[in-house]
């Protein structure tokens, strides 16, 4: 026997369930007057620096049906590649950009959407630059533990080609599951939970 290390175990995750909106976006589901606004509903204001974009899409189950009761959160750097977080030590991020957004999928169509800006490049843990990307976290009924993934930008082919995370993908045919095509100012990032085109999810 040896001394105990004394670490605790992370609390086990449990599904967010079908009524995640009550706690996370109460105004969206008609519970008004408790919180003035739903957190994460707005990421930008008039002074936010960077190129304005819309990020939207749907999440499909193994039968190609869109999830209409999911919650999507995103987290991203500002236009200079800095995160608006106390743990950011490389500089001060744009104070007019939260970097964090939260969107329920529409109760009918299953569409989520964020009005945001295109992020700058951020170094990987070994110092190489990553391509611009947005971190995604998805919870819903039937998802026991939140799913982490990333969206890359379809018009950043050169940066994507040298991205260290994408380079780690063994089956290159799966890389496009992380890349959102651009049309006008809108990037569409559809997420597939299963099937031939299952999105790459991260253990990170």
């Amino acid at each position: 026997m040896a001394q105990r290390l004394g670490y605790l175990k992370e609390s086990p995750s449990q599904t967010a369930g079908p009524y995640v909106h009550i706690g996370c976006t109460p105004n969206f589901c008609g519970i008004e007057g408790i919180f003035p606004v739903d957190l994460g509903a707005s990421m930008v204001n008039d002074k936010t620096r960077g190129e304005r974009i819309t990020v939207t899409g749907r999440i499909f189950d193994g039968f190609d049906a869109p999830l209409r009761d999911a919650l999507v959160e995103i987290w991203q750097a500002d236009c200079n590649g800095l995160y608006n977080s106390p743990s950011e030590t490389r500089g001060s991020a744009d104070p007019n950009f939260t970097g964090w957004g939260r969107s329920p999928t529409d109760l009918e169509s299953g569409v989520y959407a964020f009005e945001t800006i295109k992020p700058g490049r951020v170094p990987f843990y070994d110092g190489r630059l990553q391509a611009p990307h947005i971190t995604f976290w998805i919870v819903a009924r039937g998802i026991n533990i939140g799913l982490h993934t990333r969206m890359y930008f379809g018009d950043e082919a050169a940066a994507n080609a040298e991205d260290p995370l994408l380079a780690r993908v063994e089956h290159k045919v799966r890389v496009p599951t992380l890349i959102a095509p651009r049309e006008g100012d809108t990037y569409t990032f559809d997420i597939r939970l299963q099937g031939e085109n299952e999105t790459i999810f991260l253990d990170i």
Binding site: Y7, S11, Q14, I34, L39, Q130, Q194, T199
Partner: protein, 246 residues
């Protein structure tokens, strides 16, 4: 907010054998909603080590008082009055100050205020079902609510959820993001629930079971349950971010 210098190291790996698997067929909805391919594993990058922070300024006076924060007809929520309190810690057993804790739950009869809800039990006009609180410098939080009822759900022919409160927690890094549920000590339905049973280790189930805490009750007013939440721990920084091969 705390005056402690923010930490910047990577987070401990998530123990996937301790966490519930994505695919757990006894909980039928997981069958079509579980990724089947291997997760891509890699160290945290800045996007996981950083995370949004919510100032105490967003918190309203009644945000952690679910009995009184939705006075539909001017009254208080019906049900057994309870305090739920505890600390948000990390795997190093250190407090996580400034953590945003969001909670939601059914009312005393097991009914949620939601348009997709179909259970025949009545709504309580004075119960919205959500609250939020930010942990103090010691990682502590508390809120006042009513004990939620159990309710049936369409999974097996006669499956019931044990009484529970949903918790959503933001720590200091996006890698710590967690949603879980709190159960109540002594509830026999905990051990029959497929959602609970998706947790592989019984000690994990006990970790989500709040203890009746008589020392924190308010005599002649309300009972209390203590529920600590543990988020992923964080490595110290001196040996982080080395070039691979060093």
């Amino acid at each position: 907010m705390s005056n402690v210098v923010p930490e910047t190291g990577g987070f401990f790996n998530r123990d996937r054998k301790w966490q519930p698997p994505a695919y757990f067929p006894d909980y039928k909805t997981t069958i079509l909603r579980s990724p089947r391919k291997a997760l891509l594993s890699l160290n945290n990058t800045l996007g996981e080590m950083t995370g949004p922070v919510f100032g105490h300024g967003i918190i309203g006076e009644l945000d952690n008082d679910l009995i009184n924060n939705f006075p539909g007809d001017g009254g208080a929520a019906i049900g057994q009055r309870i305090i739920v309190h505890g600390r948000v810690l990390d795997e190093r057993n250190r407090p996580v100050p400034g953590a945003l804790v969001e909670v939601w739950q059914a009312n005393a009869s097991g009914r949620y205020r939601h348009r997709n809800e179909g259970y025949q039990a009545p709504l309580d006009p004075n119960f919205g079902g959500c609250g939020r609180v930010i942990t103090d410098d010691d990682g502590a939080y508390s809120f006042l609510t009513i004990k939620p009822g159990a309710y049936p759900w369409p999974n097996g022919v006669n499956d019931w959820r044990p009484a529970h409160i949903h918790f959503s927690i933001f720590g200091h890094g996006f890698a710590q993001r967690l949603i879980t549920q709190m159960y109540f000590e002594g509830d026999p339905m905990i051990w029959n629930c497929p959602i609970v049973r998706s947790i592989p280790d019984d000690d994990g189930i006990r970790q989500l079971t709040a203890a009746l805490d008589m020392e924190s009750t308010v005599p002649m007013d309300c009972l209390a349950y203590k529920f600590d939440v543990v988020l992923r721990g964080r490595r110290s920084t001196p040996f982080e971010n080395r070039l691979e091969g060093n």
